[in-house]
């Protein structure tokens, strides 16, 4: 595409096309958008994060990531749409303008570049990273079981051939460790939102224990408001609640770790499939999915802005 205006948001794109889009957006909005490389993947691909900032130094920030499970293509595609939306709405949408006048937004669109490239080249159904495990012919670790929060407890597999293999140790995956290091170095992230698909859920900690998170009531209230906003657009039904109560026990998950780091507003989305497509959601549903999800993200970001801690 020659510009982010002619970029096609209603189709799926390759890693190269998405990385090209990042550069387009930075070039068009140098005062608002910058591209950071937070690391390199197992196979050596750069891991990029877009930073949206209107100034200040080490401002409180909101983190959003998509594509940690590579086959969940509607999430990376939605991340691209969110990036464009932020540049379009700053200065137009009073809520987003207020958010960005006080907070920074970090958006990592392709959180698992090796897996994503593999879904295009060899296996569309690939979910994990592409790291090799000594002593096993099976490849990859589930990057949403590799975090240092309940790591290795029930809710993940120790079998390298399993889709929920947690890896040899916490943060063994460089794609995870890169985010861990970024979050720790930044030290002022106030909301962390990790976006998956599919099954239409908005969840908060914990996943590895039945114990209620200390901020459970507030998180539940925010989730309820966010889901209400999401459903208002196209009627897409979402459930919300803690990970363990809403789906199942899952250990070593992203948001259990971010919550353990004191990032109160830690949420995981599972975006739509309203029909019967699962991970193969038709491209025609990318934009509606991104639009409805954006309404929920705005609620969470606005709450974060209005409830400093």
């Amino acid at each position: 595409a020659r510009s982010s205006d002619t970029f096609n948001y209603a189709t799926y794109h390759t890693l190269e096309e998405i990385y090209g889009f990042l550069d387009l957006l930075v070039a068009e909005h140098p005062q608002l958008v910058s591209k950071l490389q937070i690391g390199s993947s197992y196979e050596g691909r750069p891991i990029y994060v877009l930073k949206f900032s209107t100034g200040g130094s080490n401002r409180p920030a909101i983190w959003i990531d998509t594509g940690i499970h590579s086959r969940e293509w509607v999430t990376q595609a939605s991340g691209v749409w969110f990036a464009k939306k932020i540049t379009q709405d700053y200065g137009q949408d009073p809520t987003l303008t207020a958010i960005l006048d006080s907070l920074d937004i970090f958006l990592e669109i392709v959180t698992n570049p090796d897996g994503f490239a593999f879904t295009h080249s060899k296996n569309r159904m690939w979910r994990k990273t592409r790291s090799l495990t000594e002593g096993s012919s099976c490849v990859g670790v589930d990057p949403n079981r590799n975090w240092d929060a309940g790591f290795g407890l029930p809710g993940a597999s120790s079998n390298p051939c399993s889709e929920t293999y947690h890896g040899k140790f916490a943060n063994s995956e460089v794609e995870v460790k890169s985010i861990v290091d970024f979050v720790k170095n930044h030290g002022n992230i106030k909301a962390f939102i990790s976006i998956h698909s599919y099954s239409q859920l908005l969840m908060y900690p914990y996943g590895y224990t039945e114990e209620a998170a200390p901020d459970r009531d507030e998180l539940d209230q925010v989730a309820k408001s966010a889901v209400t906003a999401l459903t208002s657009l196209y009627g897409t039904k979402f459930e919300y609640g803690s990970i363990i109560k809403t789906i199942y026990q899952a250990s070593g998950t992203t948001v259990d770790w971010t919550y353990s780091q004191g990032i109160k507003y830690s949420f995981t989305f599972e975006l739509r499939d309203t029909g019967r497509y699962g991970f193969l959601l038709p491209a025609s549903q990318i934009v509606p999915t991104a639009q409805e999800t954006w309404l929920a993200l705005r609620i969470i970001m606005e709450h974060t802005l209005n409830h400093p801690y």
Partner: protein, 94 residues
Amino acid sequence: KENFAGHQVLRISAADEAQVQKVKELEDLEHLQLDFWRGPTHPGAPIDVRVPFPSLQAVKIFLEAHGIGYTTMIEDVQALLDEEQEQMFALRAW
């Protein structure tokens, strides 16, 4: 490139906890090469599983033998993948 011709995605409806456990038994049978898109959680929650063609008959017999309801959510995974690729290339050509 991995080909998924003949693979189907079944949407399983486990009516009670016993049936959820039965489906979990399937999850442990590695030779069936099942890929759970939505894992077994609690009764009433849909369970979606991609079943390679060679395992289809065995899985369907197992489910029917235990009275576990299912529908075919995707008849042929490869057909959907082909559509997805065509759509991407058509737009890229455009």
